[in-house]
Amino acid sequence: MVVSTQTAGASNKHVKTVEREEIAVRFAGDSGDGMQLAGTQLTNTSAIFGNDVSTFPDYPAEIRAPVGTVFGVSGFQLNFGAHKLRTAGDKVNALIAMNPAALKVNIMDLEVGGLLVVNEDAFTAANLKKAKCETNALEDGSLDKFRVIKVPIDKLNAEACKDTGLTGRAVGRCKNFFALGISYWLFGRPMDTTLRWIDKKFGSKPAVADANAKALRAGYYFGETTDLFTEKYVVAPAKLAPGRYRKVTGNEAVAMGMVAASKLANKSLFYGSYPITPASDILHELSRRKNFDVRTFQAEDEIAAMTSIIGAAFAGALAATGTSGPGLALKSEGIGLAIITELPMVIVNVQRGGPSTGLPTKTEQADLHQAVWGRNGEAPLCVLAPATPGDCFAMTVEAFRIALEYMTPVMLLTDGYLANGAEPWMLPDIDKLPKLTVKHPTSLNGAEHFSPYKRNDKLAREWAIPGTPDLQHRIGGLEKKDITGEVCYETDNHSHMIHVRREKIDGIANTIPPMKVFGSDSGELLVLGWGSTYGPITSAVENCRAKGMDVSSTHLRYIDPLPKNLGEILSKFKKVLIPEMNMGQLTSYLRAMLPCEPISMTKVQGKPFLISEVEAKIAELLK
């Protein structure tokens, strides 16, 4: 840590500028307080400044829970650093709490000695009661281990916006920008990105734009002139690979991957979906891409979303749907139909806490068994799992590559953490994106009838689409006769078709990349992850290796079929640890698939693993 003393801006006070490698900041307030917005703005600004960023939005399922209650608290955590970041940070270094409930719910995550900025105006008797606080934390000494900065945000914000002509209520809605302004001063961030955003967003409401800009500036200048702060923090730009970057969330990356795939395959994209948290943003993103001939269909239910894409795939579109656990349950029968009719499509499942409605806004990885096995009959399905928000782009394109090459539905398993979490993403080189070649048959080629279930060397059938003369054929959910596709109840044929459908999916392993090990090729302990656990696992292994521990890691992005070299990798380590946000689903799946006895580490709290949790487990196993 480098500490220097300088005279800050307009005031004469002495403020130390402390240089940090990374800082985790969390904004917390009512779900109507605009905390997600404030967090996103600081993220964008930090990313453009050149830091690596990783975020974790944590919001309640209630849209506007009663103001001031603990169940209405919405939080947004941002980690920005001068080096590569893989998680939003184990501990919060600076917490901005807008009311007693937000303080109560978040204070346990603030590091000892951490900076706490509170809106002291909100600590009224009524608000303390709503948050069920027996005493006022600002007075009872419970915050002594933190550096507490009490700011009358309500009053200062109202003063800043008094000449904007807005009502008191509308002015109150600007206080997130006041808090954001404080954070911009505190972390030495320029305001211009957010000021531009305000102009664009509220262009049609000049008074609102004016008020928000005034609140932001007032917060910033408050930081500069007040004597409350004795330190400000700087985090230098990170050394990322050269290129042009933007920030992406997993959901944005999935949507971009779909549009890119449709361009690469030269096909219209049909996205049928039913609104469900946390997958709806994919539908929102795609519905504003109509100039790419993206056809979004908001279906009447999950079943119609699924079956509409089956119809669209039959008719020749690049078809996809997105959902979360409860929706996937409803789509199961339709996925079985997609499997037996062997049509190409992509099903995105953004996992959330279950069972049933469960924890709609929290993350979990508990749909792995549902993805791999959750259908009636022998219904093999290719299942992929991206590792980071940015990887969601590459894996979506890969999902379509497999779907088209093998004529099969493919499931992409993301989760709430990937979907809403953000990271910098280097804009891809368009010439280097994979080519997605689609060949529809155009004639009978001398045959008497079209044979819809005739296969190529990858066991893929031909995709003849309506509108093509002479290739009329009928498909459906009844068992198919090999080659002709006619309805067939013969026992030997059924057995043959079941085996062929499985062999086709297994064959995908021939065209996927082998897994790579981070660390050593053999040793005491291998940590195996899948999906969003990539961040905490890789950072934990990196830290442990720096301490000299014999630990390596590898990450599964292909769940079914498994990469061919996985068994060999596992066999080279004495122990294998699998941390996952469920009760051990990958662990039991691998036990069924490979000769291995992995050790399961589970977490089902609706929150991602902390790096320190994985580190502790590694240390325990290497003791």
Partner: protein, 340 residues
């Protein structure tokens, strides 16, 4: 109907597939299949531009027997699958074949929404008032008290009336016909297929095995004149052997009157299938045997923009205002920065 017409005039038999038909002898489905193939020939559509989508049930075997593209899907989902087909390629000529169980029970939701979206396709609902393929349970259109294998003391379910449901969802074309009235069946299917927008046709269809004679009242030579009423646009509602009976409005309700004496045709309710408000069509859909003659023919035929036209309209408008999508622009959207 937007599909290209055939250059060579096809005949009904050209629409027959090479599959053996597996319906029970005497099933009403045979007649509907024959008349549909005739209508396809009349329409002059190409086989390759025609798609039949069905769900599960006896009626849903239909696509196998037509030489077009076909999809025999899963129970109740045909309207949703057909929606995907039509939105992926609006040039296709799309038909949905469903039954009372498939369309109104397990698939009721999809039926409602396909109708209210006014997607240009034709839905044929074969109503035999029974579950046939599962061997004889009461269906959502079985009358109260119907004794079946699953209701030995009589069904305690109040029935749904398919046309009331379709009109409630504001179908732009609604009609009813009967399997054995070949002339009426053909004419009705033809009009349904020609309508631009959703067309919903209820077909009274006899199941000779599990519900034989369910529609005898409406098809019997001696009874049909009194138990059914042929709708004609712009004409008064008359029925009976010598068209001596009519329907008159008494306040908001229909009543049967005898013509002659003081009551003339001018006192009767006149049919207007073009009425923008669906109230009259709904009133007609509520006329049930034995209290009233059951209307046959076109209940409603109105114009409304189709879903796919509006969807494609937005797509071309977006391409015009934003320019055709380019991947460079997709990626480089919003704030970006360069790392040297």
């Amino acid at each position: 109907m937007s599909a290209d017409t055939a250059t060579v005039q096809l005949k009904a038999k050209d629409f027959a597939s090479d599959q053996d038909i597996r319906w029970c002898p005497g099933c009403g489905d045979y007649s509907i299949l024959s008349q549909t193939k005739k209508v396809l020939a009349n329409l002059g559509v190409k086989r390759e531009n025609t798609v039949f989508v069905s769900g599960i049930g006896c009626s849903s075997r239909f696509p196998y027997y037509v030489d077009s593209y076909g999809f025999h899907s899963i129970h109740g989902r045909a309207p949703a699958i057909a929606t995907g087909v039509k939105l992926a390629n609006p040039d296709l000529h799309v038909w949905v074949v469903t039954g009372d169980g498939d369309g109104l029970s397990i698939g009721g939701n999809h039926l409602l929404h396909a109708i209210r979206r006014n997607i240009d396709m034709t839905i044929l609902l074969f109503n035999n008032r029974i579950y046939g393929l599962t061997k004889g349970q009461y269906s959502p259109t079985s009358p109260l008290g119907k004794k079946t294998k699953s209701s030995p003391m009589g069904s305690v379910d109040f029935p749904l009336h398919p046309l009331s449901v379709a009109i409630g969802a504001e179908a732009t074309f609604v009609a009813r016909t009967v399997d054995i009235n070949i002339k009426h069946l053909t004419a009705t299917l033809q009009r349904a297929a020609e309508h631009k927008g959703i067309s919903f046709v209820e077909i009274y269809q006899n199941c000779p095995i599990f519900n034989d004679g369910a529609f005898d009242y409406a098809t019997g030579k001696d009874t049909k004149e009194d138990t059914t009423l042929m709708l004609e646009h712009g004409k008064p509602l008359v029925f009976g052997g010598e068209k001596k009976k009519g329907i008159r409005l008494q306040g908001m309700d229909p009543e049967i009157v005898e013509l002659g004496g003081e009551i003339t045709e001018d006192d009767l309710l006149f049919h207007d299938e073009k009425q923008a408000e669906p109230s009259l069509a709904y009133l007609l859909s509520r006329m049930h045997h034995p209290e009233f003659p059951e209307p046959l023919g076109v209940f409603r035929c109105v114009e409304r923009p189709t879903y796919e036209d509006m969807m494609m309209g937005q797509i071309s408008e977006a391409a015009k205002t934003k320019g055709p999508g380019k991947l460079e622009d997709l990626f480089d959207d919003g704030e970006t920065w360069v790392v040297e």
